[in-house]
């Protein structure tokens, strides 16, 4: 699965994007966030308040209960501040 990070999520994780192999029991966005937090202090810091993390699945907004797709790109980012 391709993961893409933006703004302070990107800065805290220290990567703009990466490709990961997800275990079979990571089925939803919430599962993904929990799984990522175990990957190191940088992930832990970036995702310490999962409730503020916004998610897009294949470039469409999704909520934390959304099931992950078989493949594609998942983006994690803070609340948007454009306009």
């Amino acid at each position: 699965m391709k993961l893409i990070y933006f703004a302070w999520v990107r800065e805290r994780i220290g990567l703009p994007e990466e490709t990961v192999d997800l275990p079979a029991d990571v089925k939803t966005v919430a599962d993904l966030l929990n799984w990522l937090k175990e990957r190191g202090e940088n992930y832990e810091t970036a995702l310490e308040r999962p409730e503020v993390i916004r998610v897009a699945i294949n470039q469409e907004h999704a909520d934390h209960a959304a099931p992950l797709p078989a493949n594609g790109e998942i983006a994690l980012f803070p609340p948007m501040t454009g306009g």
């Binding site: 893409i4 933006f6 703004a7 897009a56 469409e60 803070p78 948007m80 501040t81 454009g82 306009g83």
Partner: protein, 156 residues
Amino acid sequence: MTSVCEPLVRVQAGDFDLATEARRLSDGRRDVGAIVSFTGLCRDEDGRLEALELEHYPGMAEAEIGRIADEAAQRWPLSGLTVIHRFGRIAPGENIVLVVAASAHRRAAFEAADFLMDYLKSRAPFWKKEHAAGETGAGWVEAKDRDQEDMKRWER
């Protein structure tokens, strides 16, 4: 108006020109009664700000603005709708975002432009980083509760 207009959406680093974009929605037409434009500019926050840096999600930015614009075109009888959002480094006084909505009637044009801005603020994947004047560094702008409330005005 029976047909739904095809919005023009652009996400770009360069500046835009209000007059050109407004003309595009009225030139050669005789059925447009109202054009409302919104231009969002970078403020210096009482001298505190040296520049904004706008990060965006390429691909999704265009797609999400397109979805919002299509919804506006469905909800209001518009003859034309243009949305342009810049990214990259933007200095105080420079343009950030432009919405232009054209319709036979003024309420449709006002409401569509207003709706677009409220949704762009909270749904379009852009993030502002402030570069402070002097040595005080840079920080990400926090989303405001007020922006969420503004968007809720349009729920139905």
